[in-house]
Amino acid sequence: MIFPSTPSQTVGPYFAIGMPWPEGPHAVAPGTAGAITIRGMIYDGAGAPIPDYLLETWQADPEGRFADLWGYGGPSELAGFRGFARVGHEDGDGSFELLTVKPGPLTMPSGAIAAPHIDVSLFARGMLHRCVTRFYFADEEQANAADPVLATVPVARRDTLLARPADGGYEIDIRLQGPGETVFFAL
């Protein structure tokens, strides 16, 4: 028997009383070799920074292993690798920063190779459902050129998914509307 699924509702303005926690932004333990920061800004349709948002990321480690319940691909060799980060602000300046490692490429069941990427969920007041996007890495040109998902994104919009090398890691902004609107996915 198939049951109908439970609908989504907004996180509203008050999620910060329960959802964020101090180590939430760390997808890896601080001090992990090769750790990088990914930072950026989140803008609304008026170009204003969004002060209240909840951002979550999920990714593989550099060897393509996941810290899910079953440890897909085998246990990560990185001590404290969680692969999941949660950044939440109730009254921020629109910026986010998370600590992670660059994920490795993934071999799909068909044999195609997915370029290194991080899955992203964005929740906020005014969003009745999460917005899903991905972070790819601008310095993975060859891998990106062969990525089957990027291939489906109009060329002119691919840049919105590329995190650019910056001091200590990468930078990428998320724009909900307007010029440079981030590519969001239907999952």
Partner: protein, 251 residues
């Protein structure tokens, strides 16, 4: 069946327990652009969403419930302070399933809510109703082997908000579920039966299908009440389950 067959399997099998695809949900969730809920105006993508085939990253998900970070009293919002909060003491419990009816074990359930007066312990909440020194309003727990969760709390009050003149939110508890996979991630709100504010709330009514809306209304359960101690509401949650792999998913 042998006895072994009826025991819940404790070892998860990634082949058996990870579907190759989760169902695409049509007509279940509210549209991101819902003009009656004014904050959606500048916060929804205007370009069409691009179809994301589900693959390893989407079919796996964090295992936060299992990392031993849940405190003994995290599920009991009435025992997190020196004294007890004011309000109707109630349990809120239920089961987390996928849409095939399979319980989700060891998955994290997080909640947050206003106090009995409808006031959140949050500096943005300016509703002139009293804060309760004995109530924070946040809880979390992990589902058991049958997918069950259980919280002890007080029933939250309705509260006014600025969406339109004389706007009031029906009483609700926010729920966050990680599920088993990135594809199953869900944040929602649980409502209480018979709330007179339902017809006026653009967030509740943003869900186009009436039957789908009503799935967010908990059930009062006389069976689960505890005499001389607590009322009880039940709320089961169904996360998207395995589906046939459509042609587009095959990468």
């Amino acid at each position: 069946m042998t006895e072994a067959d009826t025991e819940p399997r404790q070892i998860y099998d990634p082949i058996i327990d990870t579907p190759s695809c989760y169902v695409r949900e049509e007509g279940v969730h509210p549209p991101l652009d819902s003009p009656e809920y004014k904050s959606t105006q500048l916060r929804h993508p205007k370009q069409p969403l691009i179809f994301l085939p589900q693959n390893i990253t989407e079919l796996t998900g964090p295992a936060l419930g299992s990392v031993g970070t849940i405190g003994e009293l995290d599920h009991d919002l009435t025992r997190q302070h020196e004294g007890e909060p004011i309000g109707e003491r109630t349990t809120v419990s239920g089961r987390v399933f996928d849409t095939e009816g399979k319980p989700l074990r060891n998955t994290l359930v997080e909640i947050w809510q206003a106090n009995a007066c409808g006031r959140y312990r949050h500096r943005w909440d300016r509703f002139p109703a009293p804060l309760d020194p004995n109530f924070t309003g946040a809880g979390r727990c992990e589902t058991d082997d049958e997918g069950r969760y259980r919280f002890v709390t007080v029933k939250p009050g309705p509260y006014p908000w600025g969406n339109h003149y004389n706007a009031w939110r029906p009483a609700h508890i926010h729920f966050s579920l990680l599920g088993r996979a990135f594809a199953q991630r869900l944040v929602t709100q649980m409502y209480f039966p018979g709330d007179p504010l339902f017809p006026y709330d653009p967030i509740f009514n943003s869900i186009p299908d009436e039957a789908a809306r009503n799935r967010l209304i908990s059930r009062f359960s006389i069976h689960d009440t505890q005499p001389d101690w607590a009322l009880a509401y039940e709320f089961d949650i169904y996360l998207r389950g395995p589906g046939a792999t459509p042609f587009e998913e095959a990468l």
